[in-house]
Symmetry: C2
Subunit: 303 residues, 2 copies
Amino acid sequence: MGFMNLRRLQYFLAVVDHGTVTGAADKLHMAQPALSRQIKTLERELKLELFEPQGSRLALTAAGRALVPAARRLVVEALDFESAATLLRTGKVERLTVAATSASLRTFLAPFIATMTPADPQLVARETSHFEMTESLRQGCDFAVSPQAPDGDLRHVPLGRMPVRAYVSKDHEWARDGVRQLPLSAFAGVPAILTSHHSVSRFLLDDALSRHDVTFSSVTECDDGQSIMALAVAGHGVGFSTERPLYGAHPILVLDDDDSGARPLGLALHVAWLPGHYAEAVIEELALRIRDFLQAEGIALGA
Amino acid sequence: MGFMNLRRLQYFLAVVDHGTVTGAADKLHMAQPALSRQIKTLERELKLELFEPQGSRLALTAAGRALVPAARRLVVEALDFESAATLLRTGKVERLTVAATSASLRTFLAPFIATMTPADPQLVARETSHFEMTESLRQGCDFAVSPQAPDGDLRHVPLGRMPVRAYVSKDHEWARDGVRQLPLSAFAGVPAILTSHHSVSRFLLDDALSRHDVTFSSVTECDDGQSIMALAVAGHGVGFSTERPLYGAHPILVLDDDDSGARPLGLALHVAWLPGHYAEAVIEELALRIRDFLQAEGIALGA
DNA sequence: TGTGGTTACGGGAATCGTAATAATG
DNA sequence: CATTATTACGATTCCCGTAACCACA
């Protein structure tokens, strides 16, 4: 059992990420021939060609490409092991990486991080699409803030519901009448400004619309929450967003009324992580603090 | 980044598993002082005491014990990486480890393995309780044969339903009358011989009994399928088991009749594995072969 | 001719085995 | 004194950096 050498695997990944041996060597603070030799050695060990010459540089072979995900998992697992050791030694977690959508980041995660102290672990945020949450967890993020109920066997803590609000300009009749909430049916026939399907909130809205047989007169797609707000304020239609009001936009809760009564349309936010994570206890405690923060700031409705 | 050394981690696990440095060194085919030194080096690297002297030998410290699972995961991941490389190189999987209950092993897995050829991967079976299936997958088993619908985000292939049969001796009136199947209600008041709650089939039976408000006159618990059969043949009651008839026991299908008609009470067998397994395709193909084997041999009912 | 990958050589660190030493029951 | 862990020393192997060399645009 000539055991796999993790350092070599990291070298491999560095070359993959950088595209050239020279660049990777530079980043790894080592001489380029040394790195070149290590790659060769790895190829000899695995008895596989990982790279092939392409012009004067190297390109991954099919086999090389196939091994990248497994190699990454392995390296992440190793880093986790070291972090677990540090946790045992110092009794505290130094650094946690959280995956979140840009909307979650801007809306509440960054403000929450601002409330943390040096005694807390350092929270590093990584922007991810909703649909890569589980993947990001397997690729090194310690936990994720997800706007969907987590699938799979993830451990999770519900944070509450983040309401989807409709925004109109303050000259709009709804604003003048001081309307605070409306059933979905009230929005039939209005021009809407929405996110694209890169956002979970769009799926949520589409689902509710089809259930109530409601259609907009027109749909403008825009993925930036601030721009949605700006367009609404400029009178181009009704903007739908989970973000907080800006530019004096007038917020209206969207009610999803079904048999069991009306309740605000909203995303079910969760903190999720892989079971068995070395800092499970710390993550769970942090999740509860985020939940309390969301309640206290009135950002999310109770769970 | 003084990167974790996998060899050292394996040494650590060997000492953990063996209890003594001497024994582990022996198994690792290396001199004992070398191993002792490696353990010390690991402790220095992690800045953690992993073992403490207990008499003349070593015992794990709390920190050491805490690191064992993470270390094991890491080593398993590394072995997987090597297997993935071998698969890419040779185009075939050399060895797969399957987790299964002893009942599954005896009833159909061992017979199935007997039908395989040297061209197939070598299938090594590991006996596991139903309730540790997911855990065993994370600890190195490549796939599991589970009598429950797999939870979590496991990939899976249904194998069919393994009927739970009632067995009576051939002198029993049901046997003399040639009864082949009976509704659950017919078993009210009979003395029953069942497995303990270590078996999923027991939960299944208990659930069906409570739904139909049926109770046995007495319950004898016995975890060995052959003994259940033997007791039934000896006239001690009605044995319930997923195993095939033995000792001339007379089998009767147990029907679970609900609104949608009667269907045989049975376990939903599945093959399950972790998504992203390096030999996913091979496992899936193997699962289909097991499914066909079960159908062809009449061991399971269609899915 | 510049950019990038490979081969050749010498020094230093890591790791092993043998042998000697210390501690426990 | 038998079992088990640790320390001491010499030999081997691994790995890095420098320097020279090769291949493609």
